[in-house]
Symmetry: none
Subunit: 424 residues, 2 copies
């Protein structure tokens, strides 16, 4: 038998849009690893009637109800009382938990003055498994009533996830009848519909593992997911699918399970002992920022220049003033000079140069918004991609950086750069 | 009459915990501004039966059903077909939308080869209001059937929010029975509990407008919200509250309704006709990236250097090698030299220098992770803040850039920089 869980998140702040429901995301991720299905998330406010109706609906479609939020000391924290009412379980004062709360105040808040409402948190369902809160005062609980398992967790994300991992997962292991594993295939240079077009038959036919495309951060990805008795068997089931997808899509796949192009490129630079320097105009530091988001980047990334105005292109990356005067700052030659200039100046193996119009307005030259030249310079010379990236500033900048990273990836792995060699 | 909306987000990736449901958050925020109540969010997978059951439940408890996701070209995009089935409205091929899709491909993707599945997106409910997608190909729609209003939006957050704001909000105005207006007060340099402490009495007493603190992107903000018959009346109600908050909090308020420190700083630079250049070590381009996220930055931001490794600090910002040898790269003097070096080299009015340990590991010097020096250089000299920013890499980098921006803001408005003058 396969178990189904539903997550009910309680909190008016979620319905007002003040915060995103990251608790449901984090718990779902963990449940998926346990092989427990999640078919619904429900968000409801701090309102007993609506929470009751949500619980009554969930009782009929899930084996396990997991609530987040509403366990705290204030008067709008109503989850326990409400659940107790509609699941049919009394609340009782847990002296041990009151002691733990006192202890928490003394150790973490260095205080022994505790307002009475704090002890409301020690009121928990009778005969439940108490889930201890290591990051706060509100304990959670788990119990079974009339065939429905209920787990209540606090709302603050850190408390919720820590309690889930440390206390709820051991409790839930009794329901984990299968291992679910998945791999994410990351693609650059082919859109979702083209990918689907090439793989449609396979996607339709596969049942276990499944193969599904999804778009994230402007990229197309494929998720392969298998369910089996053991993790090893799940992996075994996925292998032929991964191989087939690789054979069909080829070198537009930049990684399996490495989340970003920049991580992939950093890994390759490290493996091959190469260094990188960047010169960015329209991306304005975005590429360097993305690379240095990753800890350990300093081993291979030397630094770079943000050559936002034209004189800085000359000052920091030795682009000849004359070239800019003659051809404007947005041309393949300037991109190539920027890449070579920063590579030479910083003594790197790879140099990147990006120049273009991120919009929303064009520059004096009247060049098209979205026109970007991305260049890579290495020992073999300078190579430039001419790009037309639409009209959205954020998207243009992200895509320009992606293309530059893709060229470096291709350069480092001996693939066709898909760029024009430029002599300057 | 007050209208109630329910948001149904469709996507297995949400139930697997791959992404958080930011669409529901963003839409809820906008609905709250319109005075439309949201009592439930539901998340359901790409499964027609379960989506049908979710819609049937929502029909009975909401006047407006807003779906996100499942409008794309792939075979698991089933929202339109399923909703059409359970709401009782046929789908029809919209030739105009097919044309718009062709046009989008030609303009943004420079492609006229379009796979057939793409045109599935032009299949929309009969006689619906089409909501045009400015950031992608999948159009949305809005229609009324048997007293229930349905709005379907695409899932990718950028497309969803843009369509909601530009197309769905005008459609929804018919249900907005009061004008709700709000202002956001942005604070840097005072935490949420300190802010709350100073304003507690006021927050408790106020009913219309309300005053509520919230944390976002590591910053504390205050939202003032008023409800009235007209927008003008709502604004009038808020004025004395805004004045009072400004009087209590003083110069830690960096803006009202300008969302970020970088936008605030760019505005000030523009107003005062001053230019800026940056030199970043541990932030690795993040500051430049944030500044150039804003269109029009080129008028005041000249460019900068990402001086990630020590030799680059010397090469691009003229930090004396000897200084680094003697005092390491993470010290107030190096930050000051970087700020002055880049200012002088690029001929800017303001220079920024940031050096520190973003972690998770320290450098060879063994300096504490989270130790950062942020410097500003202007005609009056060099000024440095010494910062201890905790242990989280992303947080350290964001906070370091924030402090640098706050110093420039203070410099430009004649406030105390809250920094030490450094002579190098």
């Amino acid at each position: 038998m396969s178990y189904t869980a539903e997550i009910i998140s309680v909190g008016t702040e979620l319905l007002l849009g003040n915060v995103a429901n990251t608790d449901a995301r984090d718990i779902s991720q963990e449940l998926s690893e346990l092989g427990i299905n999640v078919y619904f998330h429900t968000v409801v406010g701090d309102n007993p009637d609506r929470l009751t109706s949500a619980v009554n609906i969930a009782k009929n479609r899930a084996d396990i109800i997991i609530t987040t939020g509403g366990l705290g000391p204030t008067c709008d924290d109503l989850t326990k009382q409400t659940l107790a009412g509609c699941i049919g379980r009394k609340l009782a004062f847990h002296e041990l938990e009151a002691e733990a709360i006192r202890d928490y105040f003394a150790r973490h808040l260095h205080s022994t003055e505790i307002t009475d409402n704090v002890f409301q948190q020690a009121l928990l369902p009778e005969n439940c498994t108490v889930l201890r809160n290591m990051c706060g005062t509100a304990p959670g609980c788990a119990f079974e009533q009339d065939g429905v398992h209920v787990i209540m967790l606090p709302g603050p994300p850190r408390e919720c996830l820590s309690m889930f991992r440390n206390c709820a997962v051991p409790y839930l292991r009794q329901f984990a009848n299968a291992e679910i594993r998945s791999h994410n295939i990351h693609i650059f240079g082919m859109g979702e519909s083209a990918v689907e077009d090439k793989l449609r038959q396979m996607m339709l036919e596969l049942e276990n593992p499944t193969l599904a495309p999804y778009a994230k951060d402007g990229e197309c990805r494929l998720r392969v997911t298998a369910k089996a008795e053991t993790a090893e068997k799940a992996e075994e089931l996925m292998l032929p699918v991964l191989d087939k997808v690789k054979a069909v899509l080829g070198d537009v796949i930049y990684s399996v399970d490495i989340d970003t192009l920049e991580e992939t490129v950093l890994g390759l630079l490290r493996e091959r002992g190469k260094t990188l320097a960047s010169a960015e105009s329209c991306t304005g530091g975005l590429l360097a920022k993305r690379i240095t988001d990753i800890s350990g980047a300093s081993a291979v990334f030397l630094g770079g220049a943000v050559t936002y105005c034209n004189s800085v292109k000359t000052k920091l990356t030795d682009v000849p003033e004359k070239l800019i005067d003659e051809k404007t700052a947005v041309c393949a030659e300037v991109a190539a000079c920027m890449a070579r200039g920063i590579r030479t100046k910083l003594g790197a193996d790879y140099g990147v140069g990006i120049t273009g119009i991120a919009g929303p307005l064009s520059d004096d030259s009247g060049a098209e918004v979205g026109l970007v030249y991305a260049a890579v310079s290495n020992a073999e010379g300078e190579f430039v991609r001419t790009l037309h990236l639409g009209s959205d500033r954020t998207r243009i900048r992200t895509a320009a950086a992606n293309h530059a990273l893709d060229m470096i990836r291709r350069g480092l792995t001996g693939l066709d750069l898909k760029a024009e060699a430029i002599v300057v």
